[in-house]
């Protein structure tokens, strides 16, 4: 450290010393709150998203505890309605939508591109502040009198309930713009900030995932914004657009809402596909199978996602004509999704698979997401949907996709990039135990819900007939195991910050650009702007070096 301070002014390029990185470059709270560095903004998002995840998880455990037995268990019915509304709103708008793009994406994207930062660093910081503002609105609505409409805010209930709907709507409105600006920033960054030689088909697939997500964020989220604004005006002035008592049309509200919220489902899961596409080839030590298919299927999903919103409305009074069109297009979405899953499995075929924690999460993703995806086909069939609509089958389906897809990929990516973020290796043993608990908990929580749902247990109900009690109890036990899994994981990750070992530059032998610079990266990312000459999944050049506990490029041992 002493030598760094004395030689700082005359230090030749690249000789800033091991101590100077983005975490230590500047000190103090203000250097974080006013930072324009994408890595620090990513870390700030990460801390906030994880806190929101804990809050949403707490609501979930309250719900599950209440459902342990029929009738009142711990809270009354109105509180229960508020709990599931807040659980949904927090998890969707504060956790899953910003989770992978804003937290992991902000940190990784410029590193993947060989860039110094995203295209608009100030806008990036502003997005974070908008997230904070939106979160404060949502949580303030909790203090006043939490909305009890469900996260979908359907009219006419949302225009008539006495609870504080407007603060919740305002919060989601602001969060929507936070998401829009992140997406806009990423599209421009990917178009204009790529390192020399980094052509579109040499981009890591995580970048393709973020790109497709950003397209949906930019095109769909504004419609959510105007919908919520109109709903606020409807509630405040009664303009008669959505409220049937004033001649408005509640089905129209659902059209507006799902024009955003169906693409939003893919906003949540397409970046997860990107993370999985990074993890699987690295831990199979094999080039990714079908790169361009995975890349383009993300874009195909982004476009198709705009054509299917009506499948949420089969029993809402939507016409048969629109229902048939939406149902048919919904089946099409299974094609690009299946392409991805089959390509990941082909990548693992005859690979030398390393079962480190990120790979465990990736395998969990494949298993759980496939169940979630296939059960979606029952729901996209109009006739079966009439039976299954608004039952626990739907709840289980989207939790398998959101929780089993987006959240497991988030945690997989978190373990994968953790060494790069903090320069510390997490403990592999506790990481694996955490992953195992999450896997068991997830299936135990949600699989019984498929059975209950297909037997007619409606979603969002406070009370139920005794026949469903065993399923509910299994589900509640599963939820607590799931909570334990996340607790173990969090403790394991936080402990790694306090303890050695330091992470090597490339612990996994990956071939994307972020692993060619020190962990954690320097303030300006790259000493020299990289010149890219090959694809991101070529591992032949990397070999494991026992001395540093990570991979080095063949023939570059001395240099390292």
């Amino acid at each position: 450290m002493a030598s760094t301070t004395t030689t700082a002014d005359v230090a030749p390029p690249g000789a800033h010393g091991a101590d100077d990185n983005y975490l230590t470059h500047e000190k103090g709270i203000a250097s974080w709150l006013l930072t324009l560095d994408h890595k620090r903004i990513g870390i700030m998002y990460f801390c906030c998203v994880i806190s929101a995840f804990a809050l949403g998880g707490f609501f979930a455990l309250m719900i599950r505890t209440e459902l342990w037995a029929p009738g009142r268990t711990i809270v009354d019915a109105d509180t229960y309605n508020q709990l599931f509304t807040l659980h949904g709103a927090v998890m969707v708008f504060l956790v899953i939508v910003p989770g992978i793009p804003a937290a992991l994406g902000n940190f990784v994207l410029p590193l993947h591109l060989g860039a110094k930062d995203v295209a608009f660093p100030k806008l990036n910081l502003m997005s974070w502040y908008m997230w904070i503002t939106g979160a404060l609105f949502l949580i303030s609505s909790l203090i006043v009198s939490a909305a009890d409409t469900g996260w979908t805010f359907y009219t006419p209930y949302s225009t008539t309930t006495p609870t504080a709907v407007i603060p919740a709507l305002a919060g989601v409105f602001v969060l929507g713009f936070s998401s829009i600006f992140t997406g806009l920033n990423f599209i421009v960054t990917i178009h204009k900030m790529r390192a020399p030689g980094l052509t579109w088909f040499r981009l890591p697939l995580f970048v393709w995932g973020l790109y497709s997500t950003a397209i949906m964020q930019v095109l769909a989220t504004p419609v959510l914004g105007i919908t919520l604004l109109m709903l606020i005006v409807e509630r405040a002035f009664g303009i008669g657009i959505f409220d049937p008592a004033l001649g408005g049309d509640p089905v129209l509200f659902q059209h507006f809402f799902w024009f955003y919220s169906h693409p939003a489902v893919y906003i949540m899961v397409v970046p997860a596909f990107g993370v999985i596409s990074e993890i699987i080839p690295v831990f199979s030590r094999k080039r990714l199978f079908g790169y361009s298919f995975i890349a383009l299927s993300s874009v195909a999903i982004a476009i198709l996602s705009f054509l299917v919103w009506g499948h949420h409305m089969f029993v809402s009074g939507q016409s048969v004509l629109a229902g048939s069109i939406f149902s048919a297009i919904t089946f099409l979405i299974a094609i690009p999704t299946a392409i991805k899953v089959l390509n990941w499995i082909s990548t693992m075929y005859k690979g030398s698979i390393h079962l480190d924690t990120p790979m465990l999460y990736a395998l969990m993703f494949l298993w759980v997401f496939t169940i979630g995806g296939l059960t979606g086909l029952f729901l996209s069939t109009m006739s079966t949907d009439v039976h299954l609509h608004d039952t626990y089958f739907v709840v289980a389906h989207f939790h398998y996709v959101m929780m089993g897809g987006a959240i497991t990929a988030f945690f997989g990516g978190l373990h994968y990039w953790w060494p790069k973020m903090w320069g510390r290796m997490y403990n592999e043993t506790t990481g694996r135990w955490g992953a195992l608990a999450v896997f068991i908990g997830l299936n135990l929580t949600f699989f019984p819900q498929f059975i209950m749902g297909s037997r007619g247990m409606p979603r969002r109900y406070y009370n139920y007939i005794p026949e469903f009690q065993p399923f509910h109890q299994a589900s509640t036990i599963g939820a607590f195991i799931l909570g334990m899994g996340f607790l173990v994981t969090t403790v394991s990750l936080i402990r790694s910050l306090l303890k050695k070992p330091d992470a090597p530059q490339n612990p996994w032998g990956a071939n994307t650009l972020e692993w060619t610079i020190p962990s954690p990266p320097a303030y300006y990312n790259f000493d020299k702007i990289p010149h890219v000459v090959e694809g991101p999944y070529e591992y032949a050049d990397w070999e494991y070096d026992d001395k540093i506990g990570g991979y080095v490029r063949k023939g570059h041992q001395e240099a390292t």
Binding site: P13, H16, L246, Y524, F526
Partner: protein, 275 residues
Amino acid sequence: MTDATAEAVHGHSGGHGHQDPIHAANPFLAHHFDTPRQQFEAGKFGIWLFLVTEILFFSGLFCAYTIYRTLDPDVFEWGHYFLDTKLGAVNTSVLILSSLTAAWAVRNAQLQQHRALIINIVITLLCASTFMVVKYTEYSHKFHAGLLPGKYFQPTEEAWEMPSYEKKNGPPPEGFLDGKPEGIEKAEKLITRGHPYKFDPPPHAARFFGIYFCMTGLHGIHVLVGMGIWIWMLVKGVKRQFGPNYFGPVDYAALYWHLVDLIWIYLFPLLYLID
């Protein structure tokens, strides 16, 4: 993946303090861009994407308008009689003029015509203020006449005396406003002859004003935001910051301003010129 060839242009990670020649020559080139072109094109693409989000943001209101006008045209026909076509046309012209000066300001910034730039921005701002003053007049007339959205819709007699309404339909029959039977009888005769003079609003008439205030209100907010942006550009212009390698901000501001104009170009016939 990398062939780490150092390029003098890109400099090293130290960044601050050690400036490369391109950054030294361009004081407004942000550290994370390599060239003014990269910065300009990134900004330009960014503002176009932003305009895309604006289009989709407004699309919700246009969707509501389309659906309710298609299914319930009477309300729109009835409602538009209370909008003053003359004031609407004045506002259209004012916005078109401001679009001209905005586009002209971009040219001034590119050619470093500092005085002309300031003049054009000031004219743009004056036009925007005129627009808002006219909007304010229109709104206050409607507030007084009780032509308000939704549950506040309570048309008073003033509504039938609004100049816009009178011009389109002539003055109310004598005695009608005083509630005299012969006046009401005359008015009813007018209606049966297909005259648009209606004193009973059609069902859900309030919805027209709901949509009217939402659309023009949201547009008005955009005008106000635009004025803020132009004041910012004015400050930068007075400081003489713009030139052939740095005119992006004026260009982006003008693009945003043209979009506000574009939306009004559609709002004007959709709301004021219903036949």
